[in-house]
């Protein structure tokens, strides 16, 4: 991908740099004031010429005619997830919501000591977490430790977002962006599996004490084979 290169350490504070208003959209751009719309498929607020009706999406799912609905929206902070090539020409830009880190990673809700913070923040290098850590930065507007929630994606028209570059408060620097790019890729590359599948019967029993809802696989229900010389 061509275009302006990022400084490995940025030209600003912490892990951020601050592009000017003319800079093109890039992955890792941080916006404050992106609309996050909430939909409930159970409660669609349909609007027609007569008034409003509450319906289930199931009633509309097979229809092709355009209709109008009422949806709630909240203004949130978000980071561009769309990769740079697509951010130049695609119709839409995808962003991930940014919230206070304490609420994205609830394990940190009562964390105060730097030693504990260190453990929490650096675990994203070892575990495929659902968040990306963003340190506080006054110029970006983050007064607290923040976190990107990969589970909450937002979509906005690219041209409209380019017109609203005044809402862009910062951008990840080279080091952080490289990490962000890999983290988001890893997150969407995940696949679901039951982590207890390779445990033997005894290990599974220990696992089930912590997670009672676990259901053994067929091979885990067989008796544990023991040799005569097995220690007791």
């Amino acid at each position: 991908m061509g275009g302006a290169t990022r400084s490995p350490v940025g030209n600003g504070g912490m892990i951020y740099e601050y592009p000017d208003l003319t800079a093109p959209l890039r992955q890792g751009d941080i916006f404050v004031g992106i609309p996050r719309i909430e939909l409930s498929l159970e409660r669609i607020l349909l609007v027609d010429a007569v008034g409003e009706r509450e319906v289930k999406w199931q009633e509309l799912a097979g229809r092709t005619v355009q209709c109008n609905i009422i949806v709630p929206v909240r203004s949130v902070a978000a980071i561009v997830a769309t990769q740079d090539c697509d951010a130049i020409r695609s119709r839409d830009i995808t962003l991930c919501e940014i919230r206070e880190f304490r609420d994205v990673e609830r394990k940190s809700h009562d964390t105060k000591k730097p030693e504990k913070w260190k453990n929490l923040i650096t675990q994203q290098a070892r575990l495929n977490q659902k968040w990306f850590y963003l340190p506080p930065d006054e110029k970006v507007g983050f007064t607290e430790k923040m976190g990107v929630d990969f589970l909450v994606t937002l979509r906005v028209p690219r041209a409209d977002l380019e017109e609203l570059r005044c809402l862009r408060k910062g951008r990840l620097n080279g080091v952080a962006d490289e990490h962000f790019r890999e983290r988001i890729a890893e997150f969407f590359r995940r696949y679901p599996y039951d982590e207890w599948y390779p445990l033997n019967k005894e290990e599974l029993a220990a696992y089930a004490q912590e997670y009672p809802d676990v259901k053994p696989f067929p091979w885990q229900e067989q008796p544990v084979a023991r040799s005569e010389s097995s220690p007791r």
Partner: protein, 131 residues
């Protein structure tokens, strides 16, 4: 950037229309603009924490049909589009009630995200307790 602002999230005041307090969802994006002047951001100063908006939607073929075999049937529905919405049965509600329901939808979504985060925090590696 020529100007910047300080932002902070505020505690949940999620459902002012219904009076529900709900779970603490302070991280859900209830942004409060700081006192720092923002000459380059006049476009966001009037954002409401929450608001009902009208959204035009159109069901796409890929989401409206279950398979290629039903595509022809789907096409035939297009021809009768004018009567489609008349077939939709739903409870008639007032605009005010619709806005209240919209606020409930927003609150529910944010509460459920907070609850999921709390549930997941109880699972997995407990870094907080490790030495």
């Amino acid at each position: 950037m020529r100007a910047h602002s300080l932002l902070s999230s505020e505690l949940a005041t999620i459902d002012v229309q219904t009076g529900s307090t709900g779970t603490d969802v302070s991280a859900s994006g209830a942004w409060r603009e700081g006192s720092v002047e923002r000459p380059d951001m006049p476009c966001v100063t009037n954002w409401l924490p929450q608001a009902g908006i009208l959204l035009a939607i159109a069901a796409s073929p890929t989401t409206a049909v279950q398979g290629c075999s039903s595509f022809d049937g789907w096409r035939s529905e297009v021809a009768t589009a004018s009567s489609i919405l008349e077939d939709v049965i739903g409870r008639r509600i007032s605009r005010l009630e619709a806005l209240e329901i919209a606020a409930q939808i927003l609150e529910k979504a944010e509460r459920e995200r907070a609850e999921l985060a709390a549930w997941e925090a109880r699972r997995g590696v407990q870094w907080e307790t490790e030495e």
